[in-house]
Amino acid sequence: MPVRQQGDIKIWKRRTGKRQLAIWFGQFIGVAIFVYCWQLVSEKTIWMFVTDAPRQAVDMMERMVPPKWGYMSTLWRPIWDTITIATLGTLMAVILAFPIAFLAARNTTPSSVFVRPFALFIIVASRSINSLLWALMLVMILGPGVFAGVLAIGFRSIGFCAKLLYEAIEEIDETQVEAVTATGASGLQVLNYGIVPQILPAFAGISVFRWDINIRESAILGLVGAGGIGLQLSSSIDTVTWTQVSVILLVILATVILSEWVSARVRHSII
């Protein structure tokens, strides 16, 4: 702890002068970047629209009430589709992520020079392309519908599941693996009896967690025509039937809260 003498009084400082200056300089750079970016924002913004927004918002709210509950009867099918897309997509992702995670984990990969970078690239590529972009591409190939949605959710989730899973594999207890190896077990048997039981709880937790996220993601896939409730949302907004929009928003909110509750309960009982 640096001390500065000032007459008879010793003043305690948390950091040395140089370090404090460096931190201040870093903060200054950060603020400068933010101000510069903000300037770019304000160049591209029509401020009249922004100042007008509160009035518009009030106007929109007024048109949203009362929600048109009769519209619910046509919504059951899209809700079911949304849940199906999320569930099947998660299932597909989990099945594909399992081997990829083993190839990507430092302690189980067959070759850390050739196979591991490839597996990591799959993980990053799948994670950085949003499910909406996957859906956009898949709708072009497969045509609009639920199937494109399932694949989009699946492709997007592989990276997420595989990343969390390979981190879990890297953190396993090596002594158990060693014990199983010492019995003369083959590679596959070591995998089955030494590693899999250790990561199974994490695996189940990750799948349920991803399913919960996927419910939210599949609610918007309809915007690009890949099935689910998003289709109804975008068509209701396009035809400015705000009373239907509010029903759909409430339905999405309820589904999300329900799925979050289910996933929290399941994870709680697993871990």
Partner: protein
């Protein structure tokens, strides 16, 4: 689920053609538009991450059970729950209606998304902190802000800086799709290239997005190590 298998089979040669038209990625012919879109996405990300985090600090403090009175806790948790349940793109859809087309709507959407994410994690981190240190600072007669600054902030700071980097990464990835509903960023460029069937340009954009995300991810690991 009814899959139209004939349509899927018809899609196979189309997929081949589609994928082959991705190669080779074309970085040059539309480089101006790509560059502009990437830069726009980046500054949208910076501004929305900063605004989102600044706004989420009071909400996060309010949502920590050991810090705030019950009614503040309930209100803050409500704000977090609502902002977390709607995907950014739906918020963007409404922001575009309210603020007009362009990056400002995207910034609003990303900021609201960041509040839900960051506020929740901040609140949970504060709830998990070590109460002994907080008590020690309080015993010195510190005011509420001093108490916050010297006992709570140092405990949650390292993890929060890591999470800020992570949220930056998420916001950048999200900003790549906000263009689909007209909220600016590289997504708009990407969508245009899809609509014009210039798939080699789309491939180039996707590769750039992937590489930027990779860079952010690696550097966030270093920053986190350096902070701790």
């Amino acid at each position: 689920m009814d899959v139209n298998w004939t349509r899927v089979v018809a899609g196979v040669p189309r997929a081949e053609r589609f994928l082959s038209s991705f190669f080779p990625p074309d970085f040059t012919s539309k480089s101006d538009a790509i560059w502009e879109g990437i830069i726009e996405s980046l500054w949208m990300t910076v501004v929305s991450t900063v605004i989102g985090i600044l706004l989420s600090i009071p909400v996060g403090l309010g949502a920590a059970r050991n810090l705030s009175p019950r009614y503040v806790y309930l209100i803050s948790r409500g704000i977090l729950a609502v902002s977390r349940s709607f995907p950014e793109i739906i918020i963007a859809l409404f922001a575009v209606k309210l603020f007009g087309f362009g990056p400002f709507a995207g910034i609003i959407a990303l900021s609201i998304g960041s509040i839900g994410f960051y506020g929740k994690l901040l609140a949970e981190d504060i709830e998990d902190m070590d109460p002994v240190q907080a008590e020690a600072v309080k015993a010195t007669g510190a005011s509420w802000f001093q108490w916050l600054n010297y006992s709570v902030q140092p405990q949650v700071m390292p993890r929060m800086i890591g999470l800020a980097m992570y949220r930056f990464d998420i916001n950048f990835r999200e900003s790549a799709v906000l263009g689909i509903v007209g909220a600016g960023g590289i997504g708009a460029t990407l969508l245009t290239s899809f609509d014009r069937y210039e798939f080699s340009t789309s491939a180039a954009i996707l590769l750039i997005i992937i590489s930027i995300v990779m860079v952010v991810e690696y550097s966030s690991g270093y920053v986190r190590k350096w902070v701790q």
